[in-house]
Symmetry: C2
Subunit: 211 residues, 2 copies
DNA sequence: GTAGCGCTGTGAGGCGATTCACAGTATCGC
DNA sequence: GCGATACTGTGAATCGCCTCACAGCGCTAC
């Protein structure tokens, strides 16, 4: 029903509304949100269409109501725990980046196999040894995981995660993962991204809409 | 002509061929590459169609030839330099991750405004103060940049980068950038990605093709 | 009260990317 | 040599997302 891209934009809209709006702003028009999100006004309206909050002509959307509706759509009703596997530079960056941002989406379990890291606390979250993976995930009923391990370990970890009940994977390892098709994987391949940018920084016309 | 997504896949194909194939493999079929890349065989063939290397029925594609053709398409003929702005955890992760992987695509300039970091060397690349941005970029004719600074600084940095001649931006800051439309930007929004994964880890049907 | 304006919500259309499906062909076995 | 096989290259069909364009409406001004 709802397109994957649309969900990403909803998340962005919420962030723009809460973090980048003049405090005290009560209403926004679709074209304002569109400008901030760098998409078309029609796109914004279509994305918000299915939400329970509705806009009024001549005022636009109530910001507080809209944020609440976006929360309804995006957040787990009671809260959702996230695990992070791999506490390298990238893992730590993700940690500092996410922690404390969303009340209902928090990294509560971290794993690494380096004994140096095990039992240390990162951003208020203790690092477990990977061997405890299954135990912790099942105990806390964690279904969402960020994978930030070296390429060589990624598939093996993914298999263990899926077996332990994980249904959503954010993969920063540079290998596409093979998972059953009721598991959602989002590949965040940095190499690919950089090579694409490098490519379009050169001769060819970049795929963009005019301003 | 060539679709942006296709370029990303070409980059992936190359990596799979060079890093994840049994050493000594001389030929691959589209369906083998497809399995590794988690796309359809038809997709692979269409992506490779425009390359100068051609496959043979009953043998498939010559690996060495294919890798060379992919290099022709993806790499700058003589080499392309990349700048990295922001040497936080994320910046350092990107650095260690990319350095030395591609002969013709290397991060050669790093910038931060923290005096602690300036003049230190990360992965063989000295960190300059942001004030030297324009000088260094112009001196080295750098047109590709990775932006890994806090949200609040992102747009200002982007403006300076574009003014200094940058034509491709890989943006890890969680704000969509406003740039002229001859500049290619790729947004790598981690928050959005995580919220999307969390969303699809829950009730809804994930958008995936069957195996 | 009423005219006018400008926005929302949305059906319909368009466009780009992916898949289908098949003609052409190199190889193998006999 | 020749038939069978399984793959590549690609036109055509399909699919899904985005944009267009407009009907409907609430607000404002007078």
């Amino acid at each position: 029903m709802v397109q994957p891209h649309a969900i990403g934009r909803l998340s962005l809209y919420r962030r723009l509304l809460t973090d980048h709006l003049n405090p005290g702003t009560q209403f926004v028009f679709s074209h304002e949100l569109a400008t901030m999100a760098r998409v078309s006004p029609a796109q914004v309206r279509r994305d918000l269409m299915h939400l329970d909050s509705t806009g009024s002509p001549s005022k636009g959307y109530r910001v507080d109501e809209l944020v609440a509706s976006l929360g309804n759509e995006l957040d787990h009703p009671t809260g959702q725990l996230v695990a992070l596997v791999g506490i390298g530079n990238l893992g730590r960056a993700l940690m500092t980046y996410f922690q404390g941002r969303r009340e209902r989406l928090a990294i509560t379990a971290a794993f690494d196999r380096d004994p140096e890291k095990v039992n240390r606390v990162y951003q208020g979250c203790r690092c477990h040894h990977v061997e405890e993976l299954e135990t912790v995930l099942k105990r806390d009923n964690i279904r969402t995981t960020i994978l930030a391990v070296p390429a060589a370990d990624a598939q093996r970890m993914a298999d263990r995660l899926v077996a332990a009940g994980v249904r959503g994977l954010l993969n920063y390892a540079p290998v596409p993962l093979r998972v059953p098709n009721d598991v959602y994987v989002e590949e965040q391949d940095m190499t690919t991204a950089l090579e694409r940018v490098a490519y379009f920084a050169r001769e060819r016309r970049p795929p963009r809409r005019e301003d």
